[in-house]
Point group: D2
Chain length 304, copies 4
């Protein structure tokens, strides 16, 4: 399959969408991102790479980081995590408190904010310096030696993050945050602030296309079963309250972030990352979803 | 792969679960079903068949029929259906009115009761005799010439179906039922009452494993894209409020019913049907889900 | 106190509001009511009467009838009613199903639709011909010998009453409707269709200002305690989701209807009825509430 | 009326209830209160006093303080407060976040926690030292020169107050907290920790029985209209999610607290305070509500 040609035709086709949508504006650092950008990278498990667009541009991965924190917790704590977080789609906005109150402080899944806060809290049980541990893991996966947190964004998020602070306090009131709220929130905003380009992002998802094993160094990140299960969870819960539509249109396990990035995998084949900062009403990249939909249509390959 | 051996080892392994769970008891006709039954059938797109257990026993397919009604509406009306029903997981029980009220009478997806009622209503626009049309389609797919509605069950459901009548009236109050409520409810309970055995059920799902084409006669039921999309929808919405767990544990597109049946597909390979009437707390077959989990574990094949 | 003068000054003052608001339009028979009408009547327990405006005009009392059906049920069944309906404000719209689902089919109070349906169902246990019994009671109270149901409105409501049919079916699914749904709905729409003028309405509320005794004939309708308790319930639950505002602004126990009528009482003193068909966003008479607010301000009398 | 005799008979009658219920146990300082206590005080606007039981015992007034903070804000800011808080019963538990999320951060009324936090935030706009200002007001009203905050309780509440911190952060995310969250929470927990006995509590509510004027010194705290309106609000919203039942059984404007205190007024006549630390399932004093119910029954006086 001529992936390069396919990527280029996709880039051409989504061009009119790139300017549409709305850049995330809840913090100044994100609001000032130029909407007029698009990048897409495909990396196969055999190491072949295909790129189009601004693939050198770094962007804030935001909620995509929830895949890395979850993978780390799942790897270390295995099925012990399920007493504190579920694995069902929420049917509610990603930052909603309603379901959390009805369900006594057990978040529906690790990819909504409440669930990601609980997972972040678990990281303090896994490593003495969870911040460093997480970054090392991501560097290893992505091959991006200079990947780092963006302090400015992390601090700006914290200063404006009253909704997440409400979630963290609510979880604490149900004893579902064990460590200090401030530390948990700081780590949470920290990992959301990680910056990558689409090449690094695709690379860092490749282990999920390869049964849990990083194909570059054959390092086993997750077991085969865990890897499949994480893919299943991204399919049912990975796109906020738009997971059903993402599965319907794209048909791949994937995770999106309000920075405009989306990463997805075709198990046994490849990882694909796309970025375009203009978001649709549900908070997912407008051009990004369309690009992935075109990708599975043009290649004829989806998991379904 | 020796599917026969795998099925037999699964039947052995789930035996202790078969008696557990709870037979659906909301109508007498279902309540009297003997819990101590289990059947499982695999049919590949090449026509090979593998069976274990009570595969000659007919059971009430109940909500699995929602796949057939949806397929018929999707085939005939294509994307016009989406103005009246969504394709997102609900995050709520299958018969809930809460979300429906919040979302102005547009059901989340066609596999919760409210959504299936809307689809049933659409069938009156598709055929002069939708009851007959639906049965013919199912016979064609399943190869079961004598498949029919169970009048006793359908009438019993109607006589006790106040919750569904509440849903239908609520939908009507939002103009999302166009035809006569009684007729819609009668057809709805009618298709829920269809009886099949696991062989017929697996066979009738085979077109979804084969890109929308019935492999027996090469009849195109759905387009490739529609078939993939229906599979995506079963993955995110096919198991009531347990879709996330089903994807996590089983990793296949599938649909369950309170009669204890579950049908699933491995695209490009096979369809599998399992039946055991004892249900878990979410209304899905207890032994059935376990059997499917073992099936994907033992074969090493899932969509993820 | 010169009530006549006060009423006239109120009529003058609310004139600009009369045309504002929006006539109920969910059925044709109500939609065609001329918005430009206003009437107000005060009747003291000593029999003095004061009127202003179109006090000879009949209007549909709609939800105000829920006070009469409740009084009848409370009188006959006493505290046995509380196993099937609560007495708390709902904090939700009057026709909402959400709370009913969360609270297992027990309506919050008898003045929201679901609660009134349950009370209506109880009337079949009280009288062989509850329709006649209710009318007789209202005639007795109001002194209006020719008060009757408006068949046209009742039938029109039934034909469009899918929301109430949804509520009734939902209640039935929780066994909180004992009798035939159609009969219950018919009686419900029947009593909502009763027509009165403000003089009759004020008169029919006088027993609630007089400790449960009709001052005209000293007939004891309710005990003193029951009468006080009904007044308490009208205060906390009588104005749909606007009860708090009604208490805040008017300060009297009262009940409103979408026909634009409101009846209220000053215990120990008088009953007051007002009618103006233009409704505010919460479904209460816009000019009517203002008129009552002015009444308690100008007389300096409220229960608080 | 022989209030003394009535109080004594009430004390006798509720004795069996005093030990029932459950002392608030969410902080140690409250959990250790001896359940076996009861006190009741009546003070008329003419200055006559009647007492029974442990009327010298101080208890934590908790949510009753919300009446004082609201009165202060209402007095100073008048109807400007209504853009930030409503005056409708919530139909939800006092600390719920659900309605707050649905209604975009505008609390239903000032007597649920979210609303009281907003009112507390307003106090910082009213006084340079709101803590001192509030205490002075309460001292003035109650005549209790040595009334003060209980630092131990306030700090204990803060240390365990994650649910209220969640509310405050959520309100802040909707810009409905203007000042620093920590300062607002500290003041909130501070005024909840105020301790009084029933004599002081009754006295401090007397202005609400007297048209807004403290009868002791003729100081006008609120206007007549404001005083009536505050009474109306206590009636519809003063007893958490039990306001309807309180109005039904007691029939007086009143406010309860989880410390087991309840204060109520009969406009034009008297204020009554009762205390017994054992709570019912809704968080109101079990013996306290019964005592007030007996009080209105025995005196035959309620507002209805």
């Amino acid at each position: 399959m001529d992936y390069q040609k396919i990527l280029e035709s996709i880039a051409e086709e989504v061009k009119p969408l790139v300017k549409k949508g709305k850049v995330a504006d809840y913090i100044p650092a994100l609001a000032k991102v130029d909407i007029n950008q698009f990048a897409m990278s495909v990396i196969t498990i055999d190491g072949a790479e295909f790129h189009t667009g601004d693939t050198k541009m770094n962007f804030s991965i935001q909620s995509i980081s929830k895949v890395f924190t979850f993978a780390l917790a799942f790897r270390e704590l295995q099925d012990r995590i399920w007493s504190r977080v579920g694995r069902e789609p929420s049917g509610n906005p990603f930052n909603s408190l309603i379901q959390l109150e009805k369900e006594n402080g057990i978040p529906r899944n690790p990819f909504i904010n409440a669930g990601a806060l609980v997972i972040t809290d678990m990281l303090f049980d896994i490593a003495d310096n969870p911040r460093q541990k997480l970054l090392e893991t991501i560097k290893l996966l992505s091959g991006g030696a200079d990947i780092s947190y963006n302090k400015l964004i992390a601090e700006s998020e914290r200063a404006n993050g009253f909704r997440n602070a409400a979630l963290a306090n609510f979880l604490k009131s149900h004893q579902n945050i064990k460590h200090d709220i401030e530390e948990v929130l700081n780590l949470y905003f920290c990992h959301c602030s990680i910056e990558m380009n689409t090449r690094e992002l695709a690379k860092s998802f490749l282990f999920l296309a390869n049964g849990g094993v990083n194909p570059e160094d054959n390092h086993q990140i997750l077991t085969l079963s865990q890897s499949k299960r994480l893919n299943a969870m991204m399919t049912t819960c990975g796109s906020y309250d738009e997971a059903g539509d993402f599965a319907f249109r794209v048909g791949l396990p994937g995770k999106s972030g309000v920075g405009g990035g989306i990463a997805a995998v075709i198990p046994g084949k490849l990882a694909v990352a796309v970025w375009s900062p203009g978001l649709n009403a549900k908070g997912n990249s407008l051009a990004g979803i369309k690009a992935l939909e075109l990708f599975t249509t043009k290649t004829g390959v989806s998991v379904f």
